[in-house]
């Protein structure tokens, strides 16, 4: 292990007295305190539950699956997202679709949100742009089971949010 020598700038006699430097420091903090007091609107804090931080357009929240015009999932169960998913939190079961134009559709589409790392690779991999990540990030729940998303969960609340597509 190498030793790193840190050279501190030399202090002059005034600085070595500390008292005045401390006073200067107090002045700086007081300036901030007074600013906070009289201009609270300039604080960078978001008062969270009431005020939500505006999200970046590319923010990656929980997943959703787009629908076709008839309400069925746009997903064709190609397993690309399941394949690419680094923590392997996606589990698809495919079946034959009734619609001859569609061929294949997911019978089950499970996402284990507890395992998901929200990397967005599934979105990247999707050849149909069916899966996307919404802006929904308030994902706390009471049981583990409630955080296992099924196809129905992924299809609901489409209009509430727009996410990365």
């Amino acid at each position: 292990m190498g030793v790193k020598q840190i050279h501190r700038p030399p202090q002059n006699a005034w600085e070595r007295l500390y008292v005045f430097e401390i006073a200067r420091g107090l002045g700086i903090t007081l300036k901030h305190a007074l600013l906070s007091w009289f201009k609270p609107g300039h604080m960078p804090t978001y008062e969270y539950p009431e005020v939500k931080r505006p999200l970046a357009e590319r923010f990656r929240g929980r997943h959703r699956i787009r629908k076709r015009e008839d309400g069925s999932p746009l997903c064709v169960a190609c397993y690309c997202c399941q394949t690419v998913c680094p923590p392997q939190c996606i589990d698809i079961t495919a079946e034959e679709s009734d619609d001859p134009a569609v061929m294949k559709r997911p019978r089950e589409f499970k996402i284990n949100l507890l395992r998901c790392i929200f990397c967005g690779m599934c979105v990247e991999a999707c050849p149909r742009d069916a899966i996307y990540m919404s802006h929904d990030y308030e994902l706390a729940d009471r049981t583990r089971e409630q955080l296992q998303l099924g196809l129905d969960d992924l299809l609901e609340n489409q209009d509430n949010d727009e996410g990365e597509g």
């Binding site: 903090t29 901030h32 007091w37 609107g41 300039h42 960078p44 008062e47 009431e50």
Partner: protein
């Protein structure tokens, strides 16, 4: 004019001792609610964030919530701890800090029906020595707390703290010797009286070096930043109170604030003229505080109105409506205060009811003291969020190699100056 029994009560020595006790307890125990709130919001404001602002107006009820939380926590006594000492240790710190309050005068002498009183719990003629004697006991609370926890970090923390408190105790005591030389008394009330009049009678002007040493040492005594090595979390977890939870931890926590409060009052008493306003006699005549009282009331009314106006506004950032009820109550308080002030002026209380005027003058002094105290308490917080923590070797170096020689030098110089009659 007033009933005999009222007069009896007013002229009883116990009445005023009891009132002093009330003031003392308000400033320490009840004050903790405000202090913790002040600490947290002060820290937040210095760091440009809102801090606790949810419970109660300006978040002031947060401290109560904290207290309830602490009180309902499980009281853990670690295995292998000395149960008795573990229980007693937090009480020692608290008791010591509270005991010091006994000798602090909160007002000057005032006359009632021909007798003289002072707002002080125990008027000892060795008050100053008492403070030094008692405050040195505080180290026991810390040392025993750490030792009885059966935890190496606690022990290390308490040893550090013990060493620190003893080291700075010396500088603290020596710095005050200079003050003693100047005031030529050990009674606190006499010290305050010595600071009457022009601002250069104040201890801080007369003995600035003693003031600096005293202030620094009192920070170290109270284990506050920049000398809070006891609870250097990164090195010692939480120092001597690592193994404390629930109300026992709460006692340590409160003890620290009481300690700070006592230090702040002492600073005011010793160096900042106590309850005195500089040149008060010159400006307001022979009984300045009695004259000032109604104006104090008007000032309080104004403050209430400002707060009422502020609380009545909707909080845009948290989407809450204004607290109209609180604003209304505050307006009522302001109105009452203003009315009382008006009555006081119109009634010419000073000549008509001299005993009431005396009491009002005394109250004014208490309030002046409290306002000065408030600044020094804020200084504690202010310094905490400004300065970083000392390293242990730096702490010891400062204590023994800087503070101690300076304090000794200060005694010598002061003594010479006193001998020469300069001071």
């Amino acid at each position: 004019m007033i009933p005999e029994w009222v007069q009896d009560i007013l002229t009883s020595k116990w009445t005023w001792a009891a009132l002093a006790l009330v003031v003392a307890y308000v400033l320490t125990l009840v004050g903790i609610v405000v202090y913790t709130w002040l600490e947290r919001r002060g820290a937040a404001f210095i760091q440009r964030r809102p801090g606790p602002n949810r419970r109660g107006p300006y978040g002031i009820v947060q401290a109560v919530a904290d207290a309830v939380k602490l009180a309902t926590k499980e009281d853990v006594v670690p295995a292998g701890a000395n149960k008795w000492l573990h229980a007693v240790a937090p009480m020692i710190g608290m008791t010591v800090a509270l005991t010091i309050i006994a000798v602090i005068p909160f007002s000057g002498d005032f006359e009632l029906f021909g007798q003289t009183f002072r707002l002080q719990i125990a008027d000892m003629n060795f008050g100053f020595i008492f403070i030094l004697a008692i405050s040195s006991l505080a180290v026991y609370g810390v040392a025993l707390g750490g030792w009885s926890s059966n935890n190496k970090y606690s022990l290390l923390g308490s040893l550090r703290s013990g060493a620190q408190m003893i080291s700075y105790e010396i500088s603290l005591g020596l710095s005050l010797v200079g003050v003693l030389l100047i005031y030529n008394t050990v009674k606190l009330d006499e010290m305050v009286i010595a600071q009457t009049g022009a601002i250069w009678h104040w201890g801080v002007v007369q003995a600035p070096m003693a003031f600096l040493i005293f202030l620094t040492s009192s920070y170290a005594e109270a284990n506050r930043v920049p000398f809070d090595l006891v609870e250097a979390d990164s090195e010692l977890v939480a120092g001597f109170h690592t193994e404390y939870s629930s109300l026992r931890f709460g006692l340590f926590y409160m003890g620290e604030y009481v300690h700070m409060a006592v230090s702040a009052i002492l600073t005011v008493i010793l160096f900042f003229g106590g309850w005195h306003i500089p040149w008060a006699e010159e400006i307001f005549g022979s009984a300045p505080y009695v004259t000032l009282f109604p104006w104090l009331l008007f000032g309080a009314a104004l403050v209430c109105l400002v707060i009422a106006w502020d609380t009545s506004r909707p909080r845009r950032r948290v989407h809450t409506r204004g607290n109209l009820l609180l604003a209304f109550l505050l307006v009522c308080v302001a109105g009452s205060a203003a009315a009382l002030g008006g009555l006081y002026l119109a009634g010419d209380v000073q000549t008509e009811i001299p005993w009431l005027a005396s009491i009002c003058g005394m109250l004014t002094q208490v309030i002046v003291l409290v306002l000065k105290f408030a600044f020094f308490f804020w200084l504690f917080i202010w310094v905490r969020w400004t300065l970083p923590r000392f390293r242990y070797d730096q702490l010891m170096k400062l204590g023994w190699k800087v503070m101690l020689p300076l304090a000794l030098l200060n005694i010598g110089v002061t003594g010479v100056l006193v001998l020469l009659g300069v001071l």
